[in-house]
Amino acid sequence: MSSIPIDNLEDYYIWTNKLTKVYGTGQKKVVAVGGIDFSMQSGVHGFLGPNGAGKTSTINMLIGAISITEGNAFLKGKKAGTKEARKFIGFLPQDPAFYDKISGLEYLIYLARLNSIPKNMAEQKALELLKFFDLLQDKDRKIKTYSMGMKQKIGLAAGLIHDPELLILDEPTSNLDPLVRKKIIDYVRKISKNMSIFVSSHVLSEVEQMCDKVTIINKGKIVLTDSVQNAKKWFSKSTNLYVIDTNANDTFLSLIKGLEIITNSWIDEKDKKIYVNTNNVEKFQKEIPKLIIEKGLILKSFYQPESSLQDVFLDIINKDEGKQNDFKE
């Protein structure tokens, strides 16, 4: 990724090259982000990772809140953290803070004016957003009286007040109850029709619902960047997982359990189908249908399942942890 010519940087909403953040020095040194390379063009890009993986540190470097220890980052060709780069981004921090003593409307107008939007236009835009987020009736209430969900909505509205080209959301649904979470996800999906979004989260199902592309980070290192679909396909292929459904799944499971080509097999509690991991795909694809016919069973379905992002995420993280443990030993 670092080989992208510098002329093309404007095509990328986010482009990083060996982006590194180290906190502290000497024995207290902590590498939060360890030289990551990733890029984002248009669409909704998920930034996944467990707690402490380096998501917030990466985002904070992109907006210029924290210094970059090494490497560099560009937002549409503008150096991350500069005024020029911040002009076209909207940002919702994790657990956003507000000036409690001002109203929702005043807050949005203030932020609009900080983005050089003229007063009359700022008010109009603020009211438009308050309506979009169903906060119009609460526009004159002090933000300190808002519920958590309302605060998150006003935070989102604040990020959108200047119609940014790129919206950066840091864990937008953390600390919210399931109902409000769903609402926020719905809003993000609606917004995504008009702008590109970079969203960090450790809640996989949400990222799956919102994103086209995903980057997974663990312990400050990028472990995967791909489209959500490709990530899922990759997982299924890498684990050689197959689903078999016959008219007698229990009988067939007992038949295949001892086979050499089967590494693991079980019946799923939900769909009652047989799930099988194989170590020899070619032989497996030949032998299984043959065996079903030989035993006089009926084959209802035989396919590679699409994994959930959760499976991909857990598999990658577990493998990564294993690798790091091996390294330590």
Binding site: A65, L114, N115, E128, D163
Partner: protein, 326 residues
């Protein structure tokens, strides 16, 4: 959100960029300045309390003049200068500037609103300069209004002389005090993430300078260690670090330029700040004051200004390098 609105905003922004005048009127710094000054500082309860604290001492001194009584000092500065320069400008004004100024950066860092602020197209330097200017305006407005009120009221109660002189001396002195203490408060605000600490350090400096040293300074000025021929205050050159000495040395400079010298009433007061040494003749019962010119008034002024500018620059570099997160 609609594409029409997007176009409208981008058109306006283009116009804004083309026209320098409009750009000034919609600059993020101006918005931040207005918000800091009008929403954070000039709040009615805060303003009333600050105003009362500023005028309380001098006002009581004026109201206590009995009707028809002939004052020993007919000059307004001779009568009120002492209380104004000590009560108002050495205690109340620095405390108000600390309480109002120290949270300006620290509070936003602690609450997390700074993270949102720095994600906007405004540089950290602009944030600092804007907030510092807002604090300067607040202090100036508060001071000029209270000083004007006292200057107007005092002649109504007694036919003082040198009213304009009083106004000019105290206004100029207040600018030195303001610059110095607001810089301390602001520097601490950039340094500490906890508002409490940002307030505590300037308050300690005020207490030590104007209360603790006020008590111990005369001891240091008249105590000798061993065979030393000079008192502790001179032997260890404590005057270098004596803020009150430097501030009131500047005050003497103003008195010399505007009033042509220091009046007798001021000598007893300025003696307390190490600017004069008192000698008492037991035979004639006469007290003579000798000027301690360790520094010239201009030298003290330059020192104070250097400290103030140094603190602002230190705050600026600390804030610029600081990692800001929730």
């Amino acid at each position: 959100m609609t594409s029409r609105n997007k176009e409208a905003i981008s058109l306006i922004n283009n116009d804004v960029e083309k026209s320098g005048l409009i750009r000034i009127s919609t600059s993020p710094s101006i918005m931040l300045f207005k918000k800091t000054l009008f929403k954070d500082m000039l709040k009615i309860p805060k303003l009333i309390v600050s105003f009362i604290l500023m005028i309380l001492g001098p006002l009581m001194a004026i109201l206590m003049i009995p009707s028809g009584f002939e004052l020993y000092y007919s000059s307004l500065n001779d009568y009120l200068g002492l209380i104004y320069s000590f009560y108002t400008y050495s205690i109340m004004f620095p405390i108000i500037l600390t309480v109002v100024g120290a949270p300006l950066i620290a509070e936003e860092l602690k609450s997390g609103t700074m993270l949102t602020l720095i994600s906007k197209p405004i540089s950290r330097g602009e944030i600092l300069i804007t907030k510092y200017l807002a604090l300067t305006c607040f202090g100036f407005l508060l001071n000029i209004s209270s000083l004007s009120l006292i200057t107007l009221i005092a002649p109504l109660k007694y036919a003082f002389e040198g009213v304009a002189e009083f106004f000019v001396i105290n206004l100029l002195f207040s600018l030195i005090v303001q610059l110095f203490f607001q810089s301390i408060a602001f520097g601490c605000s950039c340094f500490f993430k906890k508002t409490r600490n940002a307030i505590l350090i300037p308050l300690l400096i005020i207490i030590i300078t104007f209360f603790v040293l006020m008590t111990f300074r005369p001891l240091f000025m008249y105590m000798y260690l061993g065979d030393s021929e000079v008192p502790i205050y001179v032997q260890f050159q404590l005057y270098h670090f004596d803020l009150a000495y430097h501030l009131f040395n500047g005050y003497i400079g103003l008195l010399n330029i505007i009033s042509g010298g220091v009046s007798e009433s001021m000598l007893y007061f300025l003696y307390g700040f190490g600017l004069y040494t008192q000698e008492y003749d037991p035979y004639t019962w006469e007290i003579t004051f000798t000027r301690n010119d360790y520094y010239s008034p201009l030298g003290s002024l330059i020192l104070i200004l250097s400290i103030a500018i140094g603190l602002i620059l230190l705050g600026y570099f600390l804030f610029k390098k600081r990692d800001i997160s929730r």
